[in-house]
Point group: C2
């Protein structure tokens, strides 16, 4: 039978939707995960939902405004106690002793804030490397890479060069990208530890 | 609660799995779809399942052995009547008058057969263009692109150049690719008509 609502059919999953799907498939209750770039806290809240009451989310941001916004969002949802908020660069992931199921990076600048404060290629690469070293078997580092802002292109190139060289015996690197854009939309790099 | 079977967690969807997911999300009972490269008939059978008893699958292959294998597979599953098998190049899609919900291309050569008979950049581009012209709004052309065989690389480059230029007002083009392989694995180009 022909459906009565052809417009309700699924579209190709957009980048943000796909990122959330990949996280939801990978993370279960009790997991320890990281939001490397808390930003306005939407992903932190999403992760807190996935890890449940027994799980733990570490969330980092170098901007006080981001930490405040994230804390408020978590309080409002009643899941503040699942999250350890750190006003620090994501390079502080190197201090974690936990085995991580997932680490999420939303690169670029904080929406609605100072566009001069952006993630940088060097520190991002350090944070990604620290994340990979703490990743549990079967765990995933998920990067949403923005290129539209100043410095974004260099960061994207550095990340792609780094991830392309990861040993296929130890990691699988997926690139999920819309290739005929009219602007420079974000794309996904997802690294799975075997 | 920590899961007892961490190895049972979802992995990143491999290329074939992702291709089937995208088709399953897009196609519903009653649809008209095309398998541009029937090959051994696995995708034809998968499509016949998705379109149901009231739907229709057009399946093309230039090799007699592929048509035979596909017919046998469809007979065994009792869905032969949903499929119109054509012993012809996929450029014959240009003769179709139907409005298509999806068109699938598995490029390269027929597994287990003559590796000298491969899809060619020119005819593949013609067939893709004919498919796009017959695509219903919200429809999708899904290409699984193989580069490992002789001629595969040229075909892949031609397809990517063509799809990158498709107007973003009319189409979205997704590339789904593992970028740190130890060989040259297939990747997906999925074109969604808006």
């Amino acid at each position: 039978m022909k459906t009565a609502h052809p417009t309700a059919r699924a579209r190709l999953p957009r980048v943000t939707e796909m990122a959330h799907r990949l996280l939801a498939e990978r993370i279960t209750a009790g997991d320890t995960v990281v939001d490397a770039t808390a930003g306005n806290g939407y992903d932190t809240l999403f992760l807190a939902g996935l890890v449940g009451e027994t799980g733990r989310v570490y969330a980092y941001d170098i901007q006080e405004a981001a930490i405040r916004a994230t804390a408020e969002r978590l309080d409002a949802a009643g899941v503040r106690n699942r999250v350890i908020l750190r006003h620090a660069s994501h390079t502080a992931i190197a201090e974690l002793r936990a085995s991580l199921q997932a680490v999420v990076f939303n690169l670029g600048y904080l929406p609605g804030s100072d566009k001069g404060v952006i993630t940088q290629a060097d520190s991002t690469l350090q944070a990604v490397q620290a994340s990979l070293e703490r990743l549990a078997p079967g765990g995933m580092v998920l990067l949403v890479v923005y290129q539209g802002h100043a410095g974004g292109e260099q960061e994207a190139e550095a990340l792609e060069a780094y991830t392309r060289k990861l040993s296929p015996r130890d990691y699988l690197v997926l690139k999920y990208e819309y290739i005929n854009p009219d602007n420079r939309p974000p794309y996904i790099l997802a690294i799975e530890r075997k």
